[in-house]
């Protein structure tokens, strides 16, 4: 009798090992995107945030932009704005406007529009002092000055 008991116990244990752990409850894991974060800042060095700027979000349905804004709001002190996406709409155009400054950007959820942290840092780095552009501008102006000097010198020689 004792050996039968042991046999039953070991059978139960074996079954417990073989069966999937949570056989009685199906586990469902779903991913949700319930918030899109928008960051607005001024370029040209420093990346100062666009604080308290007006934000207008337009939803794009079947490749066509809705004429009426989906949602409007204001950025916070750090230039951030958060909005919940509309059901079944994955493309948005976000317009940020503050006293004469305006910028817009398309956000596409299906294409993985969210920037990774590294990409974001890179973008902010680009917004820093544009040394290359400064040199380019100086180059143009130096060229104009040079041509004018040559012409002025010719005029004096005549």
């Amino acid at each position: 009798m004792k050996s039968l008991n042991i046999l039953v116990l070991s059978l139960v244990l074996c079954m417990a090992l073989v069966c999937p752990v949570a056989s009685a409850h199906r586990v469902i894991v779903q991913g949700y995107v319930n918030e899109i974060a928008v960051k607005a800042y001024y370029g040209g060095g420093g990346a100062d945030p666009m604080a308290y700027a007006d934000v207008t979000v337009y939803a794009t349905i079947d490749g066509k932009e809705e004429p009426v804004p989906f949602i409007t709001g204001e950025t916070d002190e750090a230039g951030m704005y958060y909005f919940a996406p509309k059901k079944r709409v994955s493309e948005y155009r976000v317009v940020v406007e503050a006293t004469g400054h305006r910028g817009d950007e398309w956000v596409n959820l299906t294409e993985g529009a969210g920037l990774t942290e590294a990409e974001q840092e890179e973008a902010e780095e680009e917004a820093k002092l544009p040394l290359k552009e400064v040199i380019t501008g100086f180059g143009y102006l130096a060229g104009i000055a040079g041509i004018a000097m040559i012409l002025a010198a010719r005029k004096m020689n005549k």
Binding site: G46, M50, A51, T99, G100, R102, P130, L141, M149, K155
Partner: protein, 203 residues
């Protein structure tokens, strides 16, 4: 702050901005001599990079304009100076917008011309002080920025924004810019008057 971007103003407004800028440019350039161009280029280089020097003041970011400085040193040529600087800023730094270069040039260039007139006619007064350049340089440098702010507020009022609200907001943000540019222009004008008077515009 004072660079208006594309897509904000009514097309009629920026189109007329281009027309007025073209007229003033044609007039000022007709007064230009080839000998003025090197000086024009140097001042333009300063105005061009000035917009990169910016800082956070209150809720917004403000940058230097140096339009009063251009007016005091270049006279009528301050207008083409501002125009070229804005074109370069637009294409290289994406400051402002392509369509609004005309109206932005008015916003900053017309105050520059007024600063020049103030400096020119102010210098004719006998005030009994030695360094009149410092006084009128300071006034010109400060007033030019203040007028640029006023012009911007008027234009933004046409887009439906409350004029006084915008004007007070933008003007408050620009208080440090007005102060610093006034002092800078005043000191530079005083300095140039002693060491290199031909660099100041008195024509």
């Amino acid at each position: 702050m004072v660079h208006i971007s594309d897509g904000i103003l009514d097309p009629l407004l920026w189109e007329s901005g281009w027309v007025i800028t073209a007229i003033i440019l044609a007039y000022t350039l007709s007064k230009m001599k080839i000998e003025d161009v090197p000086k024009l280029s140097v001042i333009t280089a300063a105005v061009f990079v000035a917009s990169l020097i910016h800082f956070q003041f209150g809720p917004t970011s403000v940058h230097f304009i140096l339009n009063g400085f251009a007016g005091v040193t270049l006279g009528l040529l301050a207008y083409p100076c501002i125009f070229v600087a804005l074109v370069l800023q637009c294409f290289l730094f994406q400051h402002g917008g392509v369509t609004t270069i005309g109206i932005n040039t008015i916003n900053m260039g017309v105050p520059a011309l007024l600063a020049y007139l103030l400096f020119k006619y102010g210098m004719r007064f006998d005030l009994g002080i030695k360094q009149k350049e410092i006084l009128f340089g300071t006034l010109g440098g400060g007033i030019a920025v203040a007028l640029a702010v006023l012009f911007l507020s008027i234009e933004l009022a046409t887009t439906g924004e409350e004029f006084f609200e915008v004007a007070i907001f933008v003007a408050t943000a620009h208080i440090p810019i007005i102060a610093i540019e006034a002092i800078f222009t005043g000191i530079t004008a005083g300095f140039l008057a002693t060491v290199q008077p031909e660099l100041l515009c008195r024509r």
